[in-house]
Symmetry: C2
Subunit: 213 residues, 2 copies
């Protein structure tokens, strides 16, 4: 007998799989999900088209894996801020600032993760992870109600409002960057100004006492 599934083989498989995912993520970060084709990705990753199917059951699953890999990072980064010590309003402020900065510097990726039309499997994950976002916002709101930072009645729905406001204003079609890109080449609003406005909007909406400035 020959060619048993040895440890080093599994290891190499795992490495190759990650390599493919990395290439795919790079493509998505540069040109969005619409630019992710199996043949293009294979070329990019230095393997044959058919070989992709040894690692992923199909394109939908591959795209979903890319989505999950990237989104988990964002979610965990935000969660870290939200779980830090301090009053809830400060934690929200920091979370928004960080999220905004990350989106600002990888706009195409942010758009792909939050809003770009994609495979059914990606939409399913998007649904799931939006819930996850809403949940951590909701937990922060609950903390804030307890520590007196916020005054909120319907926490889940309010969390949804927060997610929507932040997503739309940062990476949606109404974001300052999108507006500038399409209209004239005028200098965009600064990240600082945008962060300030969004933060103020959110804190006020939650009934926070102390506002920035």
């Amino acid at each position: 007998m020959a060619y048993r599934t040895t440890a080093s083989r599994l290891e190499r498989d795992q490495v190759l799989r990650e390599h493919v995912l990395d290439c795919a993520l790079q493509q998505v970060a540069e040109r969005g999900f619409s630019a992710l084709t199996m043949s293009g990705l294979a070329r990019n990753a230095g393997i044959a088209t058919g070989s992709l199917y040894r690692h992923f059951p199909g394109k939908g699953a591959l795209a979903a894996d890319v989505f999950v890999k990237a989104t988990r990072i964002e979610l965990n980064t935000l969660k870290e801020q939200f779980l830090a010590p301090g009053v809830a309003s400060d934690r929200l402020r920091n979370g928004i600032a960080q999220f905004a900065a990350r989106a600002w510097h990888s706009r195409q990726l942010a758009y792909a993760l939050i809003a770009e039309p994609a495979e059914e499997e990606v939409e399913t994950q998007r649904l799931y992870y939006r819930q996850a976002y809403a949940t951590i916002y909701g937990e922060l709101l609950a903390d804030g109600v307890r520590d007196g930072s916020f005054l909120v009645e319907n926490i889940p729905l309010t969390a949804a409002c927060l997610v929507g406001a932040i997503a739309e204003s940062l990476v949606g079609p109404l974001s300052p960057q999108a507006r500038v890109d399409r209209e004239s080449g005028l200098p965009s609003e600064t990240l600082e100004a945008v962060t300030h406005t969004i933060t103020r909007f959110c804190l006020r909406a939650l009934g926070a006492k102390e506002l920035p400035q």
Copy 2:
């Protein structure tokens, strides 16, 4: 010579075109853009597939027309509320209540118009009309700043936040209806409760003095 483009012919063409659009809109309202196929629509409208191409250059243009037809109605309905007499905060309240009620009662259509992935041409129009929404929100905000209802610095960005918060909480994956549909069959939150929470969120975010209740 024969068969000049007579008035009655143009009239009939126009009527047929509207009939096709109505059928298409019905399909979209019932099952979303993903269920809109040329052959299906033709069957539905009682004409041949090829005949669709006498009225529309292609599927993308047709879908975009459906989108525009439906969205214009929503936009104008909202604009009417916003242009009514009274203080800005009241007008916003009424506008949100009406928008929420309409979305609540035609959820699939609302989702199709606001969030469903669709043809490139539809996305283009979506972009345009989101700007249009943001613009009328922005005008209302300007009014509100003048009449003392609101305290807002960056009007365009704040308008984007409003659009995002309302869209996400009403028709996005985080909306109460979506949450209930997927999880248990528990009775959904009422339209009134949802409207109340969203209104409160928005008014507070704008620095409005008097809140509901």
